[in-house]
């Protein structure tokens, strides 16, 4: 397959088009506007529709509309914009509408800055809006993986009738790497539930609403059943040199590949360090992480946040092993050497 150099944002856009997405609604926000612009340029070439919404609030509801008539649709935004979308995301999750969201996370809280961050982990994985719902959350670490997971995102969205979030950051978004795309012909059919006109069948409703608590609880139980299936079937992660590891670094996304360099440095020095990189942030690979950490003496979680994934890592490890944390916030990216120094300190503290 031919490779071309592409930015992460653009690769996500192209992969979405290859996955059959012909509709994009979004609102410009740094550092993801390249994706919005890519879709504005590219979608008309494939007879698709690009529409710049008046706000993220409108954009997410356009997603709701387009999805409810059965079409593959996506939007992309960055942290403050995704906060604005949360109301709609909750509706979409409850109405069980497949859709793909991209959050190119930037430094927060508030207006924050426009640099890479992972500070929206809680919002992404614990339900950023109201109610008991979950997004499937995918965290790519390379441009190729971002492209591949975009295809996966559309498949999973349809399979579970659930919103899927691609959790990226400005570093991955701006970075260029060689990427190749699948030319597989895509077909999908949502006519069994979509609102496409009550022809030769009873009228159909797709809503996130039931005024009867027992009825709404039933809807909720259906959602929970679906989430359980996701937890059973959709866990993704990558391990590097974990077999003989005495120390395990846990990091996801961009941080995951930076941590890989730390593993390389440590191994050169004879330290048995391995890496566990969750790819699905929800469902989180608790069991796999527990297994990978079974024989280590120290787990170091590294994030571009104050320690959000750390809570899931602790849930996985329980009290069995010492769990330490290192993170930078506000768009400051921890460098390999910096992390390695921290790691050596933490090891030293043990002895």
């Amino acid at each position: 397959m031919n490779k071309i150099m592409m930015k992460g944002t653009e690769a996500i856009g192209e992969a979405a088009i290859r996955a059959g997405c012909r509709l994009y609604f979004g609102y410009p926000i740094t550092p993801q506007s390249e994706l919005t612009e890519y879709m504005a340029r590219r979608l008309p070439q494939v007879e698709g529709t690009f529409l710049q919404a008046e706000s993220e609030v409108a954009a997410v509801n356009m997603i709701y509309g387009a999805s409810s008539v059965g079409k593959r649709v996506m939007t992309s935004t960055s942290s403050p914009g995704f906060s604005l979308m949360q109301e709609g995301v909750s509706y979409i999750a409850c109405a069980q509408l497949p859709s793909v969201f991209v959050n190119v996370v930037r430094g927060g809280p508030g207006l924050g800055d426009i640099q890479p961050s992972q500070g929206d982990y809680f919002q992404a994985t614990k339900g950023g809006g109201h109610g008991d719902y979950k997004l499937l959350v995918l965290s790519p670490s390379t441009v190729q993986e971002a492209a591949d997971l975009t295809g996966v995102a559309f498949e999973l969205a349809d399979k579970y009738r659930n919103p899927v979030l691609i959790f990226a950051d400005g570093l991955l978004g701006q970075m260029m790497e060689p990427v190749s795309f699948s030319d597989k012909k895509v077909s999908y059919d949502n006519s069994s539930w979509a609102l496409i006109g009550a022809k030769n069948r009873p009228a159909r409703q797709v809503t996130s609403f039931n005024i009867d608590p027992y009825g709404l609880e039933k809807m909720n139980l259906e959602l929970q059943k679906k989430y359980k299936l996701m937890e059973e079937n959709e866990i993704r992660y990558e391990t590097t040199l974990t077999e003989d590891a005495d120390i395990l670094i846990v990091a996801h996304g961009t941080m995951g590949r930076i941590a890989k360099s730390v593993v390389e440095m440590a191994r050169k020095d004879g330290l048995k360090v391995g890496l566990f990189r969750p790819i699905t942030l929800y469902p989180f690979p608790y069991e796999a992480l527990r297994k990978s950490a079974a024989d280590v003496s120290l787990v170091l979680t590294v994030e571009m946040s104050s320690g959000q994934m750390l809570e899931d890592v602790r849930l996985a490890i329980a009290e069995r092993t010492r769990v330490e944390f290192y993170g930078r916030m506000a768009g400051v990216v921890p460098m390999p050497l910096e992390i390695y120094e921290v790691l050596k300190q933490k090891i030293g503290r043990r002895s």
Binding site: L23, F25, T49, L51, A53, E54, S55, V57, A58, A59, N61, M62, I63, Y64, G65, A66, S67, S68, V69, G70, K71, V73, E87, G88, Y91, A95, L195, I196, G197, A198, K199, A203, R204, Q205, V206, T207, S208, F209
Partner: protein, 251 residues
């Protein structure tokens, strides 16, 4: 004896009994919409986007596919539908709080883009479902549970005139304000609703019909007195008539 059917329930209504309060005008407007859908033979390809408010259940009263949008966002949801499936006919049904307060941005921008959707806007100058709070269209001096001493211009501003605001937007193809307090008004309203749908079908642009309506329950009036109050007060504040008509008259 031979009986001829002179009047029956429109095919596009589901037959579910309306749950609206006695004297409320939602039921009349629902019927007019359903008749229009029938007459234009659109039932099998029309989608309703219901709002949040008293008419949150509107989708249950129509025998067509439907959804409920988040509060105020019906025009955005309808936009998504129409852009994804231009062959479908999409209408939003919205109240004054939904359309002219929380959803102002979505409505104005859908109108400005000339989205090929139709909005039926029920203006009864009050929030019904939440129990009688002030609406953006509440009249000056009018008492509501959140303007208990009467709406004051210096404190809460003036009633929002939706038709007057959006009539300048070039994307609007049909725009009218009406009421359904007399048989004549009902017939006029029906005509407007039909034109609004035709604006969409002909690809002319966004269409909106504002219907001044009563809320006897929250106004604290009998249905009869509510009609009188509407005639005496609301029509003065909100002049009736056609504001934009790019559809023209059928020959």
């Amino acid at each position: 004896m031979d009986y001829k059917v002179a009047y029956k329930m429109p095919r596009s209504l589901s037959g579910k009994q309306f749950t609206y309060c006695p004297g409320c005008h939602h039921g009349i407007v629902h019927r007019l919409i359903a008749e229009t859908i029938d007459e234009l033979d659109l039932r099998e390809k029309t989608i309703i986007v219901a709002p949040v408010g008293c008419s949150v259940f509107a989708y249950e009263f129509f025998d067509i596919d439907g959804t409920v949008a988040p509060h105020g966002r019906a025009p955005a949801v309808a936009t998504g539908m129409k852009r994804a499936r231009p062959d479908l006919t999409i209408f939003t049904y919205q109240g004054d709080g939904d359309l002219a307060a929380i959803g102002t941005a979505e409505m104005i921008h859908a109108a400005n883009r000339g989205e090929l959707i139709t909005t039926i806007f029920i203006n009864n100058a009050i929030y019904g479902m939440t129990g009688g709070q002030m609406a953006p269209t509440t009249l000056l001096g009018m008492k509501t549970t959140t303007s208990p001493y009467g709406r004051k211009a210096e404190k809460e501003g003036y009633p929002v005139h939706v038709c007057e605001i959006i009539k300048e937007l070039q994307g609007v193809a049909f725009l009218a304000r009406t009421k359904v307090t007399t048989p004549r008004d009902v017939m006029t309203t029906k005509k407007y609703i039909k034109k609004a749908f035709q604006a969409q079908l002909k690809g002319l642009g966004y269409s909106l019909v504002e219907v001044l309506s009563t809320c006897p329950t929250n106004w604290g009036l009998s249905p009869e007195k509510a009609i009188k109050w509407l005639e005496e007060n609301m029509t003065k504040e909100f002049p009736l008539g056609v504001y934009v008509d790019k559809v023209g008259d059928a020959k």
